[in-house]
Each structure stands twice: as structure tokens, then as C-alpha cells.
């Protein structure tokens, strides 16, 4: 069984309210020195059999059509899981 990991992040120019909320909460727990937080998404897609180049290509297509919205997000990586 193979596994492909897709990571999606909000576009840099788009305000990330969730990251901002996390950034504001860190110092309240004593975690100082972090100047910014951005929060993204990680997807793990499982397939029967090995992760072939064709599988990766299909995952890339899914990543840009369903897993992310290109108006507000970037797919930053599509990789076979170790």
C-alpha cells in the first residue's frame, strides 16, 4: 500500500486568520520569540500498490482541483510518504 502526502498553504499575500490566532496564543503559554505563524493543511492519500509516476500525476491533479482552491491556496508539495 502506498501513501502520498499533499501539503497546502494559504497564499503568502492572503491573510491567514488561523495562523494569526495561533501566533497570538503562543506567548500566552510562554512560547516567546516566534514572529509569525502560518497554518496549512496536510493530506495523506492512500493507494493500493506502489506510488507510480501516474499515481503522483493524478494526485497533483486532485491537489489543484479539490484539495486546494488556487484563488487562496498553493499546493506546496506532493510527495510519496516515507
Amino acid at each position: 500500500m502506498g501513501r502520498v502526502v499533499v501539503e497546502v498553504m494559504p497564499k503568502p499575500e492572503i491573510l491567514d486568520p488561523q495562523g494569526k490566532a495561533v501566533a497570538a496564543a503562543l506567548p500566552r503559554l510562554g512560547f516567546h520569540g516566534f514572529t509569525g505563524v502560518r497554518q496549512g493543511k496536510r493530506f495523506e492519500l492512500e493507494v493500493d500498490g506502489p506510488v507510480t509516476p501516474e499515481v503522483l500525476e493524478r494526485v497533483r491533479e486532485a491537489a489543484t482541483t479539490l484539495l486546494s482552491n488556487p484563488v487562496i491556496e498553493d499546493v506546496v508539495s506532493v510527495e510519496e510518504a516515507e
Binding site: P10, I14, P17, K20, L66, V71, I72
Partner: protein
């Protein structure tokens, strides 16, 4: 002939009943459409109501876009069927690429519920033809992911072609680009907005108005607009 206006219920829709009631108050027949329906039951227009369809999983509206009924809605909208997306319905229209842009969380990061003043900037759409150009209206606004975003080229195009239909007045409640509250497609049959006109259709249950507390009915004209557009 009585206009038949479909209201789609997705798992997690909240305002489908209110939208159906608004349709009836506007003198039309409300037809309940289910997300799994394979056809539109011959309706003359469709409303995608507010709520949290599919729990806003993945992104607001992202899963609903693939509901069987949406395939038919997208086809019919491209053919000119009037479609109104309210709040979550607006998010679905953007995810379905019937309208440009996307919605992200409010810039102040909190849910908001208030009576919101809007200006009506395009009165040529199927859903706004009974408003006066530039008219200020008051309807409820309630959302978490209400910040409309698009790149500058898209925003410039929307402005240049008169496709900004509603703009927030007095205060921008969610950080939406250029105070945009609602937009339309090039043909003017598809309109999406974050605020809720269906909650301002009946005296006693609407926002406060000069006529008295909770007597605002500015939202009713969205629905009478489409009824008159259908018989025109």
C-alpha cells in the same frame, strides 16, 4: 403562471426554510431541492441557501460543489437560469467557478452577526431589478468565513464591468476586498452575497427600520425581483 423557485438543501444547510418562506412571501412557489437530486424539477430559478453544508469541511462550499444537484445547477446557470447564492450559497458558487474569487475567514477571526447596511450597485441583475441604483438597504449578516478575496486583476475586472452588486456601507464587517458584499456573473443571472436577504422579508422578524423595531423588509425585493424578471 406562478414562478417556481427551487431552494437546495445540502446536509448542513440552515436557512433553506427561511429562503423558501421568502419565496412564498414574494408570491412564488417554493420547490424543495435535495443535494442528491439528479434534476431540477423544472424550476424557473434556484437559491443556494446559507448554513454550513458538509460542515465546511475542506473549505466552505468545497464539497457541496460536487453534490449531484450542483452539476445541474451549474449547467442551468450557464444557460441563463437565475441563481442566487446566500452566504454558504455564495461560497458554493465561487467553489463551482460560477463566480470568481473565494471566501476566507473574517479578518477579525470571530463569527459576526449584525444588521448590515449595503449599497445596491447593479440593478440590472435578475435578483436586484426592483432596487434603485445606489440604494442603501439593511439586511442581517452572520458568518465566519465572509472575507471575499480575489486577485487585483479580477477585482479590477469586476469593477470595470459593473459586476460588484453590493458593497458594505459604513463599516467593512469581515475585511472583504474593496468592501465587496456581493457580485454577479457577466450575464447577470447568477448573484452571490454574504448577507442574508431572506431574514429581512417580513415585518416583525427583520432588522430594525425607520418604520419600527424589526420591521425591515429590504430583503423581500431580491425575491420579487426574480419573480418579475421571470415574467418579463
Amino acid at each position: 403562471m406562478t414562478a417556481r423557485i427551487g431552494v437546495v438543501t445540502f446536509p448542513g444547510s440552515l436557512d433553506d426554510r427561511d429562503a423558501a418562506r421568502a419565496v412564498r412571501l414574494a408570491g412564488a412557489e417554493a420547490v424543495a431541492l435535495w443535494h442528491a437530486d439528479a434534476d431540477l424539477h423544472g424550476v424557473d430559478a434556484v437559491i443556494l441557501p446559507g448554513g454550513f453544508s458538509y460542515g465546511d469541511y475542506l473549505r466552505a462550499g468545497a464539497i457541496s460543489r460536487f453534490a449531484p444537484v450542483m452539476e445541474k445547477v451549474v449547467d442551468a446557470a450557464r444557460g441563463g437560469l437565475p441563481v442566487l447564492g446566500i452566504c454558504n450559497g455564495f461560497q458554493i458558487l465561487c467553489e463551482a467557478h460560477l463566480l470568481p474569487g473565494a471566501m476566507i475567514k473574517n479578518d477579525h477571526r470571530t463569527f459576526i452577526c449584525r444588521e448590515q447596511v449595503l449599497s445596491v450597485e447593479n440593478t440590472a441583475t435578475a435578483w436586484t431589478r426592483e432596487f434603485a441604483p445606489g440604494e442603501r438597504i439593511t439586511v442581517p449578516l452572520k458568518n465566519q468565513d465572509g472575507q471575499f478575496v480575489a486577485d487585483d486583476r479580477t477585482l479590477d475586472e469586476l469593477e470595470a464591468t459593473g459586476r460588484v452588486v453590493f458593497r458594505y456601507q459604513d463599516w467593512n464587517p469581515n475585511g472583504s476586498r474593496r468592501d465587496i458584499a456581493g457580485i454577479t456573473n457577466a450575464a447577470g443571472n447568477v448573484v452571490g452575497l454574504m448577507p442574508h436577504p431572506e431574514h429581512a422579508v417580513e415585518p416583525g422578524f427583520g432588522p430594525d427600520s425607520p418604520d419600527g423595531p424589526r420591521r425591515g423588509t429590504d430583503g423581500l425585493r431580491f425575491f420579487t425581483s426574480v419573480v418579475s424578471a421571470l415574467v418579463a
